[in-house]
Symmetry: C2
């Protein structure tokens, strides 16, 4: 069997997928907490292995796809840097292959998500498109000619660390004013901390927003507006047919996407004279990275 | 003969090119003032025709390439919108073909410049690259797989209107905080107005900077820093091998490019763990758009 494992800032999610096209589905999943960005590398690697083995539940693993929220090199061997993970130029693919005793393929989480959406989701049949994932931080992927465009060094799509506010909020990556400081689970927590308390994570803020809590809704409107402003810049630069939004925070749906669509129109040059791309959710939502990694694992074994 | 005409915010430049590869050169050129963004469309079209006929100097025109600083549609028939030109969804190619009585090809100025650099300049042999033109405003082009990537609607590369400062300076395009408000000939004029007087244009500020004038040098350092910050965002998104900088303001060379290179390193995530692309001048400088348009005209006739 093939398993896909997605490593985000707060959790490690493993999935098994079955079927194809419209029938592609997650057959089983397992989740373990991410040990944290200050944990030893090995602890994160063990968490990945544990999640994969949980899903396998005793069945032999033919291949494991690993989706990581960080800079993955062009050879897809190493995680070079990750704002929310401990790895620094670490040979993650080989380490996990040794740990799991099976074939491992590694890619950036947003590239994995874009692959899943291209194969069986919201990007099927598109040529020029963008995917933005909103989770602990922001990830992204660029689709050109119907394929994930990797860039000169495999690092294309790192949208989260584009500066949107000069000398703005301090980012975990060391820079200031990065887009993900204004539009992410972390931003939600920051925006609601004073009124709702510091115990809430992004998921709980989402639950409150769906229930109508005003502070929670305003927080989503704020990060949604920042999502649209950032997307406007990417649309000016790329001119995509469609922008697909995934990641854990996007599970809230239109509470995030509606303000993003409004802000996109408001921040795009010459909208009276040009197309404004649709902003739509991913099909696979917060599982897109893991699903894409599982598909890559299956392809690696063919 | 084939002529390329570039229409910028302040001037219309026509060139004839000869040779190919390293020997490609501008054999003749002519320049007329741009009538301005509030002039009637026909006046700008007549200026284009006049510049082309000046260069032709009585020789028959086989084809004319036209490079326009604005949004050109995917069919390359219409200028849809331009912050510094009067055209609004105007059938510019057909109008100029009628006026000149010859074949006319139309493209966005930065796409033309990128074409010139790909054929015979700083982008020869590159696969993933970006071109940024700094003139009255900012233009841009995206190179993927060694070709100009046009996007879903032909509008890729409109970097100038990416927001870099929330609620920032008012832009001619109607938005606020656009990148070109902080890095352009207009920005140079604004930064030097109080100390050096309102009569100076970008070219004169450049002359003063070369002569060592402190205000002029600081103005170039300021817009160069903004150039680097903006390029950092594009590098995060695209991961190019190289970033080529052209446009009239870039003629000043390292007075602009050195602060841009420093700011790029300072504003890019994880530089200890990733490649930082070189920031280099175009080969064809302020003439790149016109040269590329001339090459497109020659190709259209083959």
């Amino acid at each position: 069997m093939h398993v896909g494992v997605d490593i985000g800032g707060t959790k490690v999610l493993a999935v098994e997928v079955t079927g194809s096209g419209d029938d592609l589905a997650v057959a089983a999943s397992a989740q373990v907490p991410m040990p944290g960005r200050d944990a030893p590398d090995a602890e994160v690697e063990e968490a990945v292995a544990r999640a994969a083995l949980d899903v396998a539940a005793g069945r032999p693993l033919a291949a494991v796809g690993v989706s990581a929220a960080g800079l993955v090199d062009r050879e897809r061997e190493r995680v070079r840097f990750a704002a929310h993970l401990p790895w620094r130029d670490a040979p993650v693919r080989a380490r996990l292959a040794a740990l799991l005793g099976t074939t491992v393929v590694l890619d950036n989480d947003a590239n994995c998500a874009a692959h899943a959406e291209l194969v069986a989701g919201a990007l099927r049949g598109t040529s020029a498109a963008l995917l933005v994932t909103v989770g602990t931080g922001i990830g992204g992927a660029v689709v050109v000619d119907g394929r994930v465009h990797r860039g000169a060094n495999g690092l294309a799509g790192e949208f989260g660390h584009v500066q949107v506010v000069p000398d703005g909020l301090q980012c975990e990556c060391g820079l200031k004013g990065c887009w993900e400081q204004y539009c992410s689970g972390r931003a939600l927590e920051r925006l609601t901390r004073v009124t709702l308390g510091s115990h809430l994570d992004g998921r709980e803020v989402a639950t409150l927003a769906r229930e109508g809590d005003r502070t929670a809704r305003e927080a989503f409107a704020t990060i949604g507006t920042w999502l649209g402003v950032g997307i406007a810049g990417l649309v000016s630069a790329y001119d995509p047919e469609v922008v697909v939004v995934g990641g854990g925070v996007s599970a809230v749906g239109d509470l995030l996407l509606e303000p993003a669509r409004s802000a996109l129109v408001g921040a795009l040059q010459g909208t009276a004279y040009r197309e404004v791309p649709a902003v739509v959710p991913t099909r696979f939502g917060p599982e897109a990275g893991a699903v894409g990694a599982a598909l890559m694992a299956a392809e690696a074994r063919r």
